[in-house]
């Protein structure tokens, strides 16, 4: 299937509609009902990171999520307008030691655990692109 793309500003007010769209995508690809919220959490976490670290929460800058449904998986690409590396942006591991009580920085950890396959890279234009693969049983 050719990818379908949604594009939206870096504004928290779009997060709930985006969450609903991601679950609709999952539903259309026969992701089990019980797994839909895990899927949407995994993607929304990456969308929030794109807004913050890639676009500096500037509502004039856009985040693009494209998805392709294959027989055994859904592939999501989350693009922003910046160039950032997750480890440098975060600067710490929120799941360890003194950082356990940090009030932020858990998004990538959660996304990687829920989706199992999350990879950071660049678009052909050199902007940050995160690829998330969600297997379909």
């Amino acid at each position: 299937m050719l990818p379908i793309e949604i594009r939206f500003p870096s504004d928290p007010s779009v997060l709930e509609p985006v969450q609903q769209i991601i679950e609709a995508v999952g539903r259309s690809a026969d992701v089990e009902e019980d797994e839909l919220s895990s899927l949407s959490v995994a993607v929304v976490e990456l969308v929030k990171n794109a807004m913050e670290h890639g676009n500096g929460n500037d509502p004039d800058k856009m985040v693009t999520v494209s998805f392709s449904i294959f027989p055994n998986r859904i592939r999501f690409l989350i693009d922003d307008e910046g160039t950032w590396e997750p480890e440098k942006a975060l600067g710490f591991n929120p799941g360890e030691g003194d950082e356990l009580l940090s009030t932020r920085g858990r998004g990538i950890l959660i996304s990687r655990n829920l989706a199992k396959w999350v990879e950071f890279g660049l678009t052909p234009e050199g902007k940050t692109r995160v690829t998330l693969i969600w297997p379909i049983a």
Partner: protein
């Protein structure tokens, strides 16, 4: 997201419902923890049983509440975390920080231990 607060003995029970997805509404939750401390109550039970969706933003504000209440000599405990929310507590290892309960009476009693 909606917030409901009520006193049960000397424990403030804060119930959240709906989607906890971030944005300005999370400030309301943070403020609810601070308000409890300002009113002299440092024992808070956070009921998540009616939360249909939550991500790291929600965890962040819960950790913030833990810090606020611990500094005041009290505690924040969790009631009725759904299976999905419990999974987030495990992934982030916050399960090692928070006491979680599925029975309100047991949870309320635990503050007196």
């Amino acid at each position: 997201m909606k917030i409901k607060e009520e006193m049960k003995g000397d424990v403030v029970v804060i119930g959240l419902s709906g989607k906890v997805i971030g944005g300005p509404e999370l400030v309301e939750v943070k403020d609810a923890f601070q308000k409890a401390v300002d009113q002299g109550h440092s024992k808070v039970l956070l009921d998540l049983g009616k939360v249909s969706w939550m991500d790291s933003s929600g965890l962040g504000v819960i950790v913030s509440g833990h810090t606020t209440l611990s500094r005041a000599g009290g505690a924040l405990k969790i009631l009725n975390a759904t299976k999905k929310i419990h999974e987030l507590f495990i992934i982030t290892k916050l399960i090692t920080i928070f006491d979680t309960y599925t029975d309100e009476q047991e949870a309320l009693k635990s503050f007196g231990d």
